[in-house]
Symmetry: C2
Subunit: 439 residues, 2 copies
Amino acid sequence: MPQQNASSSSPHVIEQIAIGDELLRGLVVDDNSAWLGREVASLGLEIAHRQVVADRIDDIVAAYRLAASRSTWVVVSGGLGPTVDDLTAEAAATFLGEPVALSSTALEQIGAWRAARAQLDKTAPASLQSLDEKQAWLPASADVLLNPVGTAPGFRIRSGDTTFVHFPGVPREYKKLAQLHFLAPLRDAVLSDGGSPPLSRTWKFFGLTESAVAEHVNALFGPGRQDDLTLHYRAHFPEIHLTIVTRSSDRVAALERHIMGDSRVRHRLFGEGETSFAGALLDTLIGRGETLAVAESCTGGLIGQLLTTVPGASRAFMGGVIAYDNAVKTALLDVPPTLLATHGAVSRECAEAMARGARARLGTTWAVAVTGIAGPGGGTADKPVGTIHFAVASAHDVHHRSVTLPFERDRNRLASAYGALDLLRRQLASPVQSPSPTP
Amino acid sequence: MPQQNASSSSPHVIEQIAIGDELLRGLVVDDNSAWLGREVASLGLEIAHRQVVADRIDDIVAAYRLAASRSTWVVVSGGLGPTVDDLTAEAAATFLGEPVALSSTALEQIGAWRAARAQLDKTAPASLQSLDEKQAWLPASADVLLNPVGTAPGFRIRSGDTTFVHFPGVPREYKKLAQLHFLAPLRDAVLSDGGSPPLSRTWKFFGLTESAVAEHVNALFGPGRQDDLTLHYRAHFPEIHLTIVTRSSDRVAALERHIMGDSRVRHRLFGEGETSFAGALLDTLIGRGETLAVAESCTGGLIGQLLTTVPGASRAFMGGVIAYDNAVKTALLDVPPTLLATHGAVSRECAEAMARGARARLGTTWAVAVTGIAGPGGGTADKPVGTIHFAVASAHDVHHRSVTLPFERDRNRLASAYGALDLLRRQLASPVQSPSPTP
């Protein structure tokens, strides 16, 4: 994918060091580093290097030496806890050639956090615990960095032109401390260096491949690198997210016009920024005062799951029927046994009957239905694995669509759930669609 | 967590180098590296170092120099594709001080893959494509490594005592090539070095914390490191997986007896190895010739989704009702409106009525129901966020359980889905439970 780079001349060379045997052993996946990469990109900068290091003093010190030789900011995570495997402070002191010392500031912060915690949770201890003190032993020259959401404080050290910031590896604490003690000062430094803050905008698509989005964007900006903008493509199956980072509002506006100017692209855009696919659809329904039911066969509850992940979904989503077995399609959705015998459960007729049945039984404005063959088994020559039928019922009519999906079971199911909701989304977006009264 | 190390004296020092701007920008999460870490651990070895490097020749060469100075095996991923950002072969040649050359072996492999692919998919081209040749330009001294599942071949180079193997970053191709060209020869080397292959066994728990599992294990092996075994704890919310890697079958047998000897631990064990939580329950039901329905309120379809992730779930799982709105609880599950008015939807009475209703409507052996408050809104002083009621109905009776979960919305929902299925799992495991006829 074309990656265009706006930050090659930045004075900030940023490096990550993640410490922990559990990372190298694959027992946890390091989401913190990916998150920080995206946050840094939104400032128009990039992470230049990343090292993952075992819980061994010598290895940690070697990683610090390498980072100090090439980077201006080093974000270190992990190894700040109270156990014998937590060696980061000792390694940092060794690297600096200084002793560790008990920081009274750190100790006070831990004590204050314990006291505050005990106020909220009566079962939590209000005073310092036996292992707390270890977390207050820091390199003698370190600055303590407040941790408002946990016991282990962060700390900052400097060596030559390089600043090292240290945060706990627990994601909630890592993100909070990184925001407070790294991203905020970095943003200030970017602003004082260069003037205008970079703009960042993200568009989210369903039903287009990453290549198709990139081709469309290249038709505007050309396929090469551009000095004044960075483009990111993120595949979050089955969604594609496009982000532009630039200091030029003209560039953002041009890209927006370019997306909105092509109906094949515009119709696949479901939201921007933090909007989720299901959340956008629910917002539309809530705004129209309409309600939704689902009838799920091959998705087995996944559509309901996607919708109810959104807090407040109950304002539009009433529920539905998981009709995995054919008998349930008849008993709870009124699909006639003769229809099933004639056309089979994986058919346009069945999908439409499921949607009508769910809408009638639940008394909603709309119902979506899906029936298909997710695989790996169950395919035939006529109806291969990946054959999926969708239907959307309203008071006026029933819309149908079918696809043949090329993925394995999990992705076929996820794409099916999206496809069913997308059929409704596009109908709601259509200008000829009049609001339907609840029956 | 205590980590015990069986491999400190190994002659194999293994390093990973992952290449790609998209990794540093957080646009993809590097699951390959975590997977390889677990595979290496199952051989009784460990990854010593990991570097993540941008798509820049100088940076890649520097990473190779560092790796050659400290490691015996280096597994490199990414940058083997056909675009201008794919620089790995050029960087490897620069590191070796040799030219890149067109490999006829690589070109033949790519041609053979195209021809084979076209046999399977009539829309795929049968001959070499314009960008294919770039992937056959490799360092002059490289050995080509067959890629049976994609176009880009892997390759191997040597520098002093260090062997570098290169695989594409696409997960399916990475894993296939890593198995063939790294893990298999590494396993052979371990065997020829040392004798018996290490044994690996994994136990999976629901309803115990990682600390509780570790405490139980420490009561057997002690909290310190042991020379002849390695223990891994992996938190895969809400499951905890415990793996032992050792060359001693006595150690494995001792741990199994220790787990089975404590009923509090044994009752929380749901499976071993690749078994999934839902899969284990479905296997039990299929073995008994029994069927299951679900009635979901706060989980909104998630229980059905977990069950139907398992291929062949239809042999026991019939379907169910997503009763998100109270009207659906009455219309499709026959929960009396007076019950809802008296006790509320989040109550023992409602959960039991939902389970009975689902079982009667779907005609199954068993039905599980869940109703609760996942948050963030909806809590009251009496029924705070996290209050969840489960019920399991059979022909004989209805069992109930309630919990107050401490997580945020997503985890409260996931733990609720598990909790509902676990109530059934434990009932099926109970020796007093007689098989129930389908009504």
